[in-house]
């Protein structure tokens, strides 16, 4: 009697929707528990369970009733950092560390990746606010590299990353004379293991309040 009863997707993050779909033949009444009540013989309905929930569809006619159940698993959503909101009393260094994020590069590259452009755009907006509040402070952009290229070449590469970062911020309207650059090449890694997980963290421009 029940052709199908599904939930797509069967696993959702809390707050997201799962769609129940069903098709029943030869039933007089069709109902779904969990407060959905009587429904048509075939149809679909979006549900937003806040925890893992089983839905039972009951189809009845003169001969009796049959049931079919599906479960929607609900996971906790990734905890999103609330946007840091600087307190009015924050000093320059605190504001920089709250609002300005490092950007990352591909191996042997100083071109901006898509994610770095997005981060830098946010950084630029924040910097205009911060520099407006602290007219006498400057920001140092440190260029870093992973351990694989030679130390000498990486000194040049880190410098290129820092300079390209400065140029990008300047194009977005940040005052160039508030920005300094320094290359540490591969001399100051933030992560010291020899794997891509670590290397990708070290290929970065890091922002330091002065």
């Amino acid at each position: 009697m029940i052709a199908f009863f599904t939930a797509e997707p069967s696993t959702i993050e809390r707050g997201q929707a799962s769609v129940l779909k069903w098709d029943v033949k030869g039933a007089d009444t069709v109902s779904i528990n969990q407060g959905l009540g009587t429904v048509s013989a075939s149809g679909n309905r979006s549900v937003f369970p806040s925890s893992t929930t089983s839905y039972t569809l009951t189809a009845s006619n003169a001969g009796g009733s049959v049931t079919e159940s599906v479960t929607v698993n609900v996971t906790a959503p990734a905890v999103k950092e609330p946007p840091a909101t600087p307190a009015p009393s924050d000093d320059f260094g605190t504001m920089v560390s709250k609002l300005i994020q490092d950007i990352y590069f591909d191996y042997d590259k100083s071109e901006m990746r898509e994610d770095s452009r997005a981060t830098l755009t946010k950084n630029a907006d924040a910097l205009k606010t911060i520099f407006g509040k602290f007219p006498n402070n400057t920001l140092t952009i440190e260029g870093h590299c992973d351990e694989r290229g030679s130390a000498e070449y990486n000194l040049g590469l880190g410098d290129r990353r820092a300079t390209a970062t400065k140029d990008f911020l300047t194009q977005l309207g940040v005052s160039a004379d508030r920005l300094r650059t320094i290359s540490y090449g591969k001399e100051r890694p933030t992560c010291t293991e020899s794997n891509e997980g670590c290397w990708s963290k070290n290929r970065r421009s890091h922002f330091v309040a002065q």
């Binding site: 191996y107 042997d108 290229g149 130390a151 000498e152 070449y153 000194l155 020899s194």
Partner: protein, 451 residues
């Protein structure tokens, strides 16, 4: 005195495991099959005996490390060791089964010693001084009268230092007979973090006598020494961004050097006459190569690309060709150009990544680091004949091996390797043999070998 030049005596190339091309290159550098030398322990008479052990260790080590000779095993030596030429007495009836009655040339040239040369003599106390009576004999000669190659007296103080001094001088004279400059007295400058931050350190060529040279309590790295051995240039973060600093090696003091306005001035090297410095600067926005007087004045830009270019090294013989590292064609490779920036050619094949070019003193070969055949970051030491571009790989994937530089004798290479678990300084003969670890405390890298 007769000079023995190895390539003339022993024309047979050593059979090395690099393929014919490689064997040719290192054969030309280290000189093929080696002569055998026997160095029995010298006796010390009187108070000189207190320092005999130091003398014998130093003499043996100097000759062994030079890589010119095969050292005859001491356990095979005859019981009667000569101390003076007069001790050689020809047996009346030579009996190969019983020749211990008197030291004779054949005792040393025949099996089991099978030596070509014998160094012998003794030290003694004379007027409160150490005196060394040293001889070198060619034991392949038929008569004692024709065997002497060196017979000389050396003077030193009556202490450990004096014992080392006379041993070094005798070793230098022996090696000179074979056209080889002794490394005794040569120094290796290097970078060590053992004081808490990277600073320049210095040690004797054999790893002894390690001392801190700079005290900036900051990041100090990438040393280079002037050809006359009087000045040291390096890259320092003491003022913030990386800048070039020059020190006198005679006074230890800082010498003025004008750094052009740039976020990075680094990887300085001296011209053969010591009058100019070439280096890499980001004044244009990219790390590019410049030439200046040794005080930084009279700047001239040598390269003009939008790529990263570092580590310029001028041919020490011609003073013209510059080796350098560039990313102009993609991953970092080694290029060559004239000192005015013309005639740029790539030397490495474009495979992998290449770095750390270093001219040999003869200006014919370069040692360098290359990841060819390995994934990025896995450096090995190579040597290339710059004219023919034939190359040979000297290290074979044991750890990361970087920053090779030549010894003043043009036969040895010092480099850094983490094959022992941490980055340390190693030396080897330029055919990849005679590996020696010279440091062990802290992290040590970027060695430069000077006279």
């Amino acid at each position: 005195m007769k000079n023995f030049i190895l390539p003339c005596l022993f024309a047979v190339a050593a059979s090395l495991a690099y393929g014919q091309q490689g064997a040719d290159i290192v054969g030309r550098i280290v000189g093929g099959q080696k002569a055998v030398i026997a160095i029995p322990d010298f006796r010390g008479a009187g108070r000189a005996g207190n320092f005999a052990a130091t003398f014998n260790e130093t003499l043996f080590s100097d000759i062994d490390q030079a890589g010119v000779f095969k050292m005859a095993p001491k356990s095979m030596f005859p019981l009667n060791v000569p101390q003076r030429p007069e001790d050689f007495r020809k047996p009346l009836q030579y009996d190969p089964n019983n020749r211990t009655r008197a030291p004779w040339l054949l005792d040393w040239s025949e099996p089991p010693v099978s030596s070509d040369f014998l160094a012998f003599g003794y030290t003694a106390e004379q007027d409160n001084q150490m005196v060394l009576f040293g001889w070198l004999f060619n034991v392949r000669q038929p008569e004692v009268s024709g065997a002497q190659v060196i017979g000389k007296i050396y003077h030193g103080s009556l202490d450990e230092e004096g014992a080392r001094k006379v041993a070094h001088e005798f070793a230098t004279d022996i090696l000179r007979q074979f056209g080889v400059e002794s490394l005794a007295g040569s120094k290796i400058y290097f970078v060590s973090n053992r004081s808490g931050s990277k600073e320049i350190w210095v040690m004797d060529y054999d790893g002894s006598n390690q001392k801190q040279f700079t005290f900036y309590k900051n990041l100090v790295t990438m040393p280079n020494v002037s050809p006359d051995g009087t000045r040291l240039a390096f890259t320092s973060f003491a003022g913030g961004a990386p800048q070039i600093v020059v020190h006198s090696l005679e006074t230890g003091r800082k010498i003025p050097f004008y750094n052009q306005r740039a976020s990075m001035n680094a990887t300085a090297a001296f011209t053969p006459d010591g009058k100019q410095i070439i280096y890499s600067s980001t004044a244009s926005g990219w790390a590019q190569l410049y030439r200046a007087n040794s005080d930084g004045s009279k700047l001239e830009r040598l390269t003009n690309t939008r790529s990263i270019e570092v580590e310029p090294k001028i041919n020490p013989k011609t003073g013209n060709e510059i080796l350098f590292v560039s990313g102009r064609g993609g991953p970092q490779q080694i290029y060559k150009m004239n000192i005015d920036g013309t005639d740029v050619t790539r030397l490495t094949t474009g495979e992998g990544e290449a770095s750390n070019p270093s001219w040999n003193p003869q200006g014919s070969h370069m040692a360098f680091a290359w990841t060819r055949g390995y994934s990025p970051g896995n450096w090995n030491i190579f040597i290339m004949d710059v004219a023919t571009r034939e190359y040979v790989q000297l290290t074979q994937g044991a750890g990361r091996n970087e920053n090779p530089t030549w010894a003043p004798d043009g036969r040895h290479v010092v480099f850094s390797s983490n094959r022992s678990g941490s980055m340390q300084i190693w030396s080897m003969l330029a055919d990849g043999t005679q590996l020696r670890q010279l440091t062990s405390a802290g992290v040590n890298e970027k060695p430069v070998w000077t006279k």
